[in-house]
Every structure is written in structure tokens, then in C-alpha cells.
Symmetry: C2
């Protein structure tokens, strides 16, 4: 193993920092110093996720550099196989010691930090550090743009790890945003009837072009006849509609995390004996494979790419109903 | 098959009727007339359930004779094996035709009526009618008092039909009321560590006497380390505490149905990938067996028995924090 060091490595960098409910561009943020077992990574591109927008509203009370979806290049590492390589990285940094880690649930590590979400600076910066064990080396088959989708796609693929999909099921995905457009593709691999429900005609069209059935939310009537409903709306209205659509003894997968508590009548869950399953991060290798093989296609999903300097504008654009995925380019 | 008819059968009866948010004793309510396939049953005793108290607050918007927990005697039937027998009855009256019925989920029949809860007069009356197929004949081993517990015990036993209990799990039951005191006994058969959490020392003592671990709710700290948490509180605070107690990837069983929507932060369910399962009615034969064998012991669970005429007083008493199960005696 050879320690790799970049000559003339900068000490200061540009970074977009969450603080007091705002994300502000800081031009002289210190370049992070990798701890033992960590690598320093030059960020190439990063994606803006609904979670980033929720953090702006107070979710997780996170302060620090935002961003957790990225592709980068390793610039300092003690691990020869990683040197100079293009990588993506698992966002949960774990202790390896607690009851969750020792029972194989390290994504739920009691002592974890999470890139750009909890206790650890993220990817809206020129550089970031992550444990070397978190990194996945990419080959040339994946473009940078595809690579930024590895993290959200892994989250979408988590659904089929939690529930085994029946070909005969009636399935709906609620929300035509970033995650919904990935989730419906993931589910459509095993079930041709998947319906994507959304509010935006041009976003639904993206799924429609991929051969997925789509419907405007206003045209959906809750008849409690869906076997599986996946809520990717990022809105309190998602669960309410899911409860109306799911059949007795059916399953709701809840992907939506929102900063504010929501008012919800959960009695129908009891009466109909519904199973509600929270779903978060997934496995990167599965997502890399699904993107490399072309099984999941990101065409039409990137609305715009902004340079990091224009993060304010990028966030505003990402929050607009019309945008799908917004990327940031870190290097000039 | 011989049609049984009782000579001098009354045309009018006493019945306690939900109407406009009140339960009122009516002295000249018509004795129900059994439809084809139904039996007429003389109610001996009935139990007051948390659901009855919620109906008073508007739950299910039900109007009609209340009550769904009962033991009675068949007085008119076309089924010889039921004539004159002491029975309990499944509360869901089903069509046998819909998608739910044909897929073996008849408790979720799309066209069901539910005794004293939805579209069908209930057990707080001198007589009721139910489909003959819903009835379970009792032998002498069960007292009337035990028999009234068949319906709520079946609901408690439903938990172990929905989740297979591991001996090593850490399990908590929230709520020391009627249902919680049954649920903790059900779970303790397979898991000695079951903890019953409640607000009332003397109710917890009932479980303690049966060898179950108990704790006052104020002494419980949510550490997200329980494998299974069962919410039987009948209060919005139950789910909130359950979310704090359940471990990542753990399970919450939700038994609480309340009339009002509740404000709840469901993000921890997503972050911790918790499985929340709604749970309702269960199988009567299992409950009859568990009571007959003495596996489930109702001693200490009946707070008081009132005559039907004193239903107002009985409901008030049932709503008091100190009462456990309150019974009504129908026949003078």
C-alpha cells in the first residue's frame, strides 16, 4: 500500500454550507483532512436530493457542508487500489462495533455519521472525505451523470430488498420526482402493471417514454385495491393517498421524510391491517450494476447542471415543481 | 334441519343505541328479525371495548345498537346444531363474493357489516342477529365471563398470526388497558422478556401477578432497542413512544384506532426502516382454545358488571382510567 499525496493540494476550497436554515457558498472552507482509513476525494459532480431541500427546512437539524449524492476522484488514500480512481461512496459512516453493525445492519449503526446529513460534511464542495471502505470504484462504462444516480438508485432498489414483488400485484408509485422516476423503473422490471402517479405532465412523460403506465394524481380514485403503494412524494399528502389506495393486508413503502410532523388518520391502517415499511438507503453495487447494464435508464432525468458557485440558483431550481434532478459541477 | 321458534318471543326489547354522539337506552327497540342464514340470539353478557368509547367520539360514524363483545344463547335458528346453544360470534358479516372473500381474507370483505360498529346493530341489547356461520358453540368449560373475552382475545392473538415471535426478542406492549393485558399474556407464551408499559399501578399489578414484567410509562426511556413494540394504548401517545422504543428494522404492531387524526412525525420510521403493521380482528377458535386450556387467564380483568339499564353509568366507568373490562348483564 502506498500513501498517495497530491502535490500542491489546496488547503482551502469552495463549499456550500447549511447554517441557520440557509445553504451559503463559502469560498475559504478548509479542505477536509482524512482520518485513518479515510480517503480524500475531489468531487466532480453532485446531485441535489429532496433530503437536501428538507434539511433547508430544518430536517435533521444538520449544519455543515450539504450534499450526499456525488461522483469524485480519489486524490489521497492509503489504499493503492483506490488511488486516482473515479468513485462513488456509501453515505453512512459506521463504527463496526455496535449492536446494529454486529448484526449486519451497519446502515443503521448507532454511532453513524451520514455524508452531508448528520455529523459529517458532504459533497457540495470541491473535496470530501469518506472511509475507504465506503468507496466503490467505477469503470468507464458509467458516465459521471449516471454515477451521481448511484446513491438515489440504491435507495430505490432497497424497496425490492424489503418486499418481494409479485408479477400479479397491482403496484403504484406516488410522486413523479427524482426518486419516484427511479422507483417505478425498479419495480417495472418485475411487474408490468406499475403505475406512476404524479402532478406534472412532463415528468410523467419521462416515465411514459420508458414504457411505464402513468396517471395524474387528480385522476386517481382511492379504491383500496393496490397490493403495493410506494410513497416517493416527499409530501404529507403521499401517505394519505397511499392509505386510500392500498388494499386490506397490502403494503405501503414509505420513502418520504419530511421535516414537519404531519397530521394523519392512521385508523385505516389498523382496520385494513396494512403493513407500512420505512425504506432508506440501499446497496451501491446493485445500483452500479443496474446502471451499467442499462436496466435502469436515467435519460430525461437531469433537468439542469449548475456550477457550485450558483448553488443558490440550483437549489431554487431544484425546489421548483418542474425540475427533476439538478446536478452541481464542482470543478471549473 | 328444524326451524326453532321461541314461544312468546318478545317483539320489543331494551337496547342501547348510538345516535348523535350519545349512547341512549331505548326500551321499545324492535327485536331484530333474522334474515336467511342468520340466527336470533338472546344476549347474556356483553363487554365494553375501547372501540365503543371511540364510537361515542365519532369513530366510524356508526349509528345503531352498540357493542360487539358478547356471549348469548341461540333462540331461533334453521341450524339444528345451534338450537338453544350458548355461543359467541365473529363480528364481521361477509358477502363471500368479493375479491377479499375469495382470497381468504373475508375479515376484510368489501361489503361487510360489523356487529355494533358498521351497518349492523350490536350486542348492547336483549337480542341480536348474526349469520349462523359466524357462531361458535361453547361447552361448559368456559364461563360467561370468559366467553365475553373471546372477541378481544382473538384480536390479541392476531398479533402472533401477523408476526412470528422470536424467543430472543425484546418485546414491549404499550397500554395496560383491556387489550394490553391480553396482548402481553399472548406474547409472554413465546417470550419471557415481554414488558407491559402502562400508566396505572393497579392495572400493571394484574399483569405482574401473572408473572409478566411491568413498568410505568414515566420510567421508560426510548432507546430504539426493542425488536417488537405493540401499541394497545388507544392514544396518539402510543405510536410516538413506540417509534422511540423500536429498533432499526424492528416492528411496531398498531392496535390503536382513534376517532381523531393524530399529528405524528413518521420520519423515524423511514430512517430506521421500521415495519408498522396494523392489526384488527382474529380467529375465535384460537381464543376459545386459549381460554379453555387456561393458557390465558382473565382473573383480575373484570372491573365491574352493570345491568343494561345502567349503560350510561357503565360507559362512564369504562372510560375512567382505573377501570379495566366492564361487562353488561342483559337479562334481569
Amino acid at each position: 500500500m502506498s500513501a498517495k499525496s497530491v502535490s500542491g493540494e489546496a488547503k482551502r476550497m469552495k463549499a456550500a454550507v447549511f447554517r441557520e436554515g440557509k445553504l451559503k457558498l463559502v469560498r475559504d472552507y478548509p479542505v477536509p483532512v482524512p482520518a485513518k482509513g479515510e480517503a480524500l476525494i475531489k468531487v466532480l459532480q453532485a446531485g441535489i436530493c429532496a433530503t437536501d431541500l428538507e434539511i433547508l427546512k430544518g430536517y435533521m437539524k444538520f449544519e455543515g457542508v450539504g450534499g450526499h449524492e456525488f461522483v469524485g476522484q480519489v486524490v489521497r488514500t492509503s489504499e493503492a487500489s483506490l488511488a486516482d480512481r473515479r468513485v462513488v461512496g456509501q453515505i453512512n459512516c459506521v463504527c463496526g462495533q455496535c449492536d446494529m453493525c454486529s448484526s449486519g445492519l451497519s446502515n443503521h449503526c448507532r454511532n453513524r455519521t451520514v455524508l452531508g446529513i448528520a455529523g459529517r460534511d458532504g459533497a457540495f464542495a470541491e473535496y470530501l472525505v469518506l472511509p475507504q471502505d465506503n468507496l466503490h470504484v467505477l469503470d468507464e462504462k458509467l458516465t459521471d451523470e449516471q454515477a451521481v444516480f448511484v446513491e438515489p438508485l440504491a435507495a430505490a432498489l432497497q424497496i425490492v430488498k424489503q418486499v418481494s414483488i409479485d408479477k400479479r400485484w397491482k403496484i403504484a408509485v406516488l410522486g413523479d420526482g427524482r426518486l419516484g422516476l427511479l422507483a417505478c423503473q425498479v419495480l417495472a422490471r418485475d411487474n408490468r402493471s406499475v403505475l406512476l402517479v404524479g402532478k406534472h405532465r412532463h415528468k410523467l412523460l419521462v416515465a411514459d417514454k420508458k414504457g411505464i403506465r402513468v396517471s395524474l394524481v387528480d385522476e386517481v380514485v382511492g379504491r383500496n385495491d393496490y397490493d403495493l403503494v410506494v410513497d416517493c412524494t416527499g409530501s404529507p399528502t403521499g401517505l394519505k393517498l397511499a392509505v386510500k389506495m392500498v388494499r386490506p393486508r397490502g403494503t405501503i413503502i414509505l420513502k418520504t421524510t419530511i421535516a414537519a410532523p404531519v397530521e394523519c388518520d392512521l385508523s385505516p391502517l389498523v382496520i385494513n391491517e396494512v403493513r407500512l415499511i420505512g425504506s432508506r438507503c440501499g446497496t451501491f453495487s446493485d445500483a452500479i450494476e443496474a446502471l451499467s447494464s442499462g436496466e435502469i435508464d436515467i435519460s430525461g432525468l437531469i433537468s439542469r447542471t449548475f456550477p457550485l458557485e450558483r448553488i443558490d440558483e440550483a437549489l431554487k431550481f431544484a425546489a421548483e415543481p418542474d425540475s427533476i434532478k439538478v446536478l452541481l459541477r464542482m470543478q471549473a
